[in-house]
């Protein structure tokens, strides 16, 4: 459904050229739900905007819904739906039903077809009865469902969702996830969504493309990605941590157990082992022998945040230079 090769985009800014996307290859098969996961600034939205013909690639090529991105943009547009990130508050005087019909008519549907389609789509997305409501009066969840309805009015086979649940309360998020799944289950729609929520990618996507700094750094199922880390992570939080202590803790841990990976983050030593329960005792003894003090010990099943840390050397909570980034809290 989507094949992209070496897609790249750079912007000219006052601070010099910015390479937002640096050569992305990706493939999405019909009926898949693929998640593009990465922190803010990774290039996810730019990639999406290129694939939806809203932005010209600086280089590279892509075929979307069977049409060439650069030479057949109008055909691409006929066959895709695009749901942008949440925008500014809508103008006064815009009504739900009217905006949906306008969208359908711009997609080429006749007036009666557009009205019929509205009658179909509205109840599918729990918008039945809201046709005469002003956009301004919708709740966050309703607004997001309206945005998705906009992208579905012409029954596209491929839908792009940019951060579909950003800013929504947990109930609305779960509700929207159910609607997104239903799109694929009931209508066979192929979906490419971007998100910086790890649980969203895990819950919805058949396959996750991890994106960082304009590149795709991993492409696999959620299970396979977690299996790469494989096993449990024992998190040792050192009291009074300094570089010297941390180095000794890492060395002690390495001698104590057969670790698949040992990473550090602030005052934490994260030891990836096959079985956390078995590894805890030797680790505690080793740390104690080394004369170090622990404040907490946790054994966790791996999350995608751990995937990210392993893949990129920095967690989703930090930018590439290690500075903290604000990101929505996730469940591990």
């Amino acid at each position: 459904m989507i094949t992209a090769h070496a897609l790249a985009r750079s912007f000219r800014t006052k601070a010099g050229p910015v390479d937002a996307v640096r050569g992305v290859d990706l493939e999405v098969k019909p009926g898949e739900i693929v998640g593009l996961l990465g922190p803010n600034g990774a290039g996810k939205t730019t990639t999406l905007r290129m694939l939806t013909t809203l932005l010209m690639p600086t280089s590279g090529s892509a075929t979307v819904a069977g049409f060439d991105l650069v030479s057949q943009p109008r055909d691409v547009r006929r066959n895709i739906g695009y749901v942008a990130q949440v925008g500014a508050a809508p103008s006064a005087g815009t009504l739900v039903g009217e905006e949906l019909i306008t969208q359908a008519r711009l997609q080429g549907l006749s007036k009666p077809d557009a009205a019929a389609r509205l009658a179909e789509v509205a109840p599918q997305l729990d918008l039945g009865g809201l046709e005469k409501r002003a956009l301004l009066e919708l709740s966050g969840g309703q607004r997001r469902r309206f945005d998705i309805a906009l992208g579905l009015m012409h029954s596209p086979r491929l839908v792009f969702l940019d951060e579909p649940t950003a800013g929504l309360d947990p109930q609305s998020r779960a509700n929207l996830w159910a609607h997104i799944r239903a799109l694929r289950e009931e209508a066979g729609v192929t979906i490419l969504l971007t998100t910086h929520y790890l649980d969203e990618a895990d819950a919805l996507a058949d396959r996750i493309l991890v994106m960082d700094g304009g590149r795709i750094i991993a492409d696999d199922t959620p299970e396979a990605l977690k299996a790469r880390i494989s096993g449990d992570v024992v998190v040792l939080t050192l009291a009074g941590a300094n570089p010297g202590n941390m180095a000794r803790a890492v060395e002690a841990a390495g001698r104590a157990v057969a670790a698949r990976d040992i990473a550090t983050e602030n005052n934490e030593v994260r030891v990836t082992v096959d079985d956390g329960g078995v590894a805890v005792a030797p680790l505690l003894r080793a740390i104690d022998t080394a004369g170090l003090t622990l404040s907490t010990v946790t054994v966790t099943r791996p999350s995608l945040d751990d995937v990210f840390l392993t893949l990129t050397g920095h967690s989703l909570r930090e930018g590439p230079d290690g500075a903290p980034l604000h990101v929505a809290t996730t469940s591990a």
Binding site: L55, Y82, A89, S91, G151
Partner: protein, 250 residues
């Protein structure tokens, strides 16, 4: 393409009719000038002014002011629509970019046409006595110009993307151009250097044409010159506006 244009036009008009305050807002400046400044011109002589003749000279200027400010400020609307995501969701359809811009400029044109009619009607009790054919032709001319100006305004709005950048631009362009075209007082009163400079301004010729039309002087050279310039300028700006709208996909 006509369907697409009409769909956009319908949307713009619906939103406008639900918020009519904007229509009146656009009229306040010209009406204030009409009511509070216009009557002073009755007591002025020179340049064809004096008595009720002053209205035949002043009201055309107000029409141009209405068109330039009204159409010129269209860019603010598109900047807001850009933020709301409206522009993106329209651009992601197969609708032609030309329809997206023409539906909007048509909406601006209709608004300015209606506002012009209101302005003329308000001027009547103040003493405006002009050729009716001339008035109608002038309004048409001004509407054609408005199409071009609003297209250019939309294009600049898409390029600048921000009110803080757009506002100084539009203020910096429209006021000098308007003053230089003799909207308040005829340029025949100006010293040589100012008069010659104003000749380079295409808007001057539009004002001269509408003044001749108000007099009922259809054969006047100014009418032809102004008419051609209006159409040429309108077309040029509309072309440039559409191209920019298309290129903003890049």
């Amino acid at each position: 393409m006509f369907t697409e244009t009409f769909v956009i036009f319908q949307r713009q008009m619906r939103i406008l009719l639900r918020n009519p305050v904007w229509v009146f807002f656009g009229l306040t400046q010209p009406i204030l000038y009409l009511v509070l400044f216009g009557p002073l011109l009755k007591g002025v002589t020179g340049g064809g002014l004096g008595g009720n003749n002053s209205w035949k000279i002043f009201v055309p200027g107000l029409l141009l002011q209405l068109a330039i400010f009204g159409a010129g400020f269209a860019g603010f609307g598109i900047i807001q629509e850009l933020r709301e995501g409206v522009i993106d969701r329209q651009r992601v359809t197969p609708a032609r970019r030309m329809s997206l811009i023409f539906g909007r400029t048509l909406g601006n044109m209709v608004t300015i046409g209606v506002q012009s009619a209101v302005l003329v009607v308000v001027a009547l009790p103040f003493g405006l006595r002009a050729s009716w054919d001339g008035i109608v032709s002038s309004v048409v001319m001004v509407c054609i110009l408005a199409i071009g100006v609003s297209a250019a305004s939309y294009a600049m709005g898409l390029i600048l993307k921000d009110e803080d950048a757009f506002a100084p631009f539009i203020q910096g362009v429209s006021l000098p151009l308007l003053l230089l075209s003799g909207v308040l007082l005829p340029m025949s009163l100006a010293p040589g250097w100012l008069r010659h400079t104003s000749q380079v301004n295409p808007l001057t010729h539009v004002v001269d044409a509408t003044r001749a039309l108000f007099r009922g002087d259809f054969g006047d050279n100014n009418v032809w010159i102004g008419g051609v310039i209006t159409i040429a300028l309108g077309a040029l700006l509309a072309w440039w506006g559409t191209r920019t709208f298309q290129r903003q996909s890049a």
